[in-house]
Subunit: 243 residues, 2 copies
DNA sequence: ATTACTACTCACCGAGTAA
DNA sequence: TTTACTCGGTGAGTAGTAA
């Protein structure tokens, strides 16, 4: 979730991305092109020897195909190589084209509430929706985090502007329960969960409440006063079709 | 033209691009975010010390702004930094979204024609259009290049499918002169010019004819039999609005 | 807790050169 | 002509640590 290592190739991507981009610009994205190591060296501003090694490495990685003749080899980018370029492109698209940041980082301190969290989370009508829309059955309780700095409080307020996973309100015979907005989150870079924002919260915006399939105080060894880092992903949608 | 060093920062871009991308994904593209060197280190998979140096370097480059407090600095990407990301994005767009390659590379051998090139280039109605649409007054003569390999001939044939800078045909009292398709080109990675493709050419598709503001045989020290490299840019439009 | 210095290691780049 | 090897210098990344 945001951090999972799909990439056992981080280092390689960093090293070879711009060379691959150059080759693509020379036409190797769609066709075979004739490139000598000397020509490539010129284009990337490095030596012929380095260009040669780069091509060998790219070949070993399976990002290009190559057939060497005596006056410069024929090169074309493979599907694997194309997907490297596409991946960077789509990461940039998200950043440049969407107004919604891919994640927001919060820092705060754990504190104990009065158990209201637990009460609400265990209401069956809420619980059913958490399971359906978030994909997990929440531990019966919330982790309350007090935001300390100005900066965090401002960022928290911004969350209100982003599209959330919406949990509908309901009534029972005694009272009404308001709608809740959720955002997927990662706590201490380790445990998945969600930030829940009740529209009529008993807390002000310097507090965030977190639910999770795990008992977070146990899993992350937290006590009152522990510092936690919460990364919120406003872009990750709910499991089942939601706006 | 394709190769001009707008970038005195090639090396820096290669080195810092992915770090900048990471920071952007963490939200620094639009807002200030709180990032400790330790957190950044985690995200990029390198040590805290390296992350610290990266941030210092990015700051010196003017790609980020930074204010250090005692629990992690506040960081935001500057306009200069954003433009680095946008540049890579647009280079990728060109490759991924257009069917037209940004350049095609040809290799061949210089040979002498019978002077017809010179005759056509100096027709006033052609010359006027070259000046208007290509932005240069061509040397009165063409450089003929014989393509030797199968691969080059195929690539030459592909040019017919790409949108060219169109030079209109005309009539004088004696005869008609056909339309001509031009593509901007770089000869031996050094001299600007254009490849001209007459629709009714006296040559077959294993030859390309080049015009240039320069006397290329002189400028590039070419003789009959010299090998030349011609890079053709099918995407660079004419000076004045042309389809 | 932070940031960032110094010192050290190792990987990378390029000169020379063989094939 | 090419490609790509070896090898030596340089610069990038990390451990230790001060502030």
């Amino acid at each position: 979730m945001g951090n999972i290592k799909i990439h056992g190739l981080r280092k390689e991507k960093r090293k070879f991305f711009f060379v691959l981009l150059r080759l693509a610009e020379m036409g190797a994205y769609q066709r075979s092109i004739k490139v000598s190591t000397f020509l490539l060296a010129e284009k990337i501003g490095l030596s012929q020897q380095t260009a040669s090694r780069y091509l060998l490495d790219l070949q070993r990685l399976g990002w290009i195909e190559r057939s060497i003749t005596r006056n410069g080899g024929l090169i074309r980018i493979t599907e694997a190589g194309r997907s490297v370029l596409r991946e960077v492109f789509s990461r940039l698209s998200v950043i440049l084209e969407s107004k919604i940041p891919s994640s927001l980082m919060f820092e705060g301190v754990v504190f104990s509430g009065l158990g209201e969290g637990s009460y609400y989370v265990t209401r069956e009508a809420y619980r059913r929706q958490f399971i359906e829309k978030l994909g997990f059955d929440p531990y019966p309780g919330t982790l309350n985090v007090k935001l300390l700095s100005e900066h965090d409080v401002k960022a928290r307020a911004e969350l209100d502007n982003y599209p959330a996973i919406e949990i509908e309100g309901f009534k029972d015979k005694d009272r009404t329960y308001g709608p809740v907005r959720c955002f997927r989150a990662l706590i201490n870079n380790e445990a998945e969960g969600a930030v829940v924002c009740a529209l009529r919260s008993h807390y002000n915006s310097s507090v965030i409440e977190i639910i999770s399939p795990f008992y977070l105080r146990g899993k992350l060894k937290l006590n009152d006063g522990s510092r936690v880092r919460v990364e919120v992903f406003p872009n990750i949608p709910s499991k089942k079709g939601e706006t």
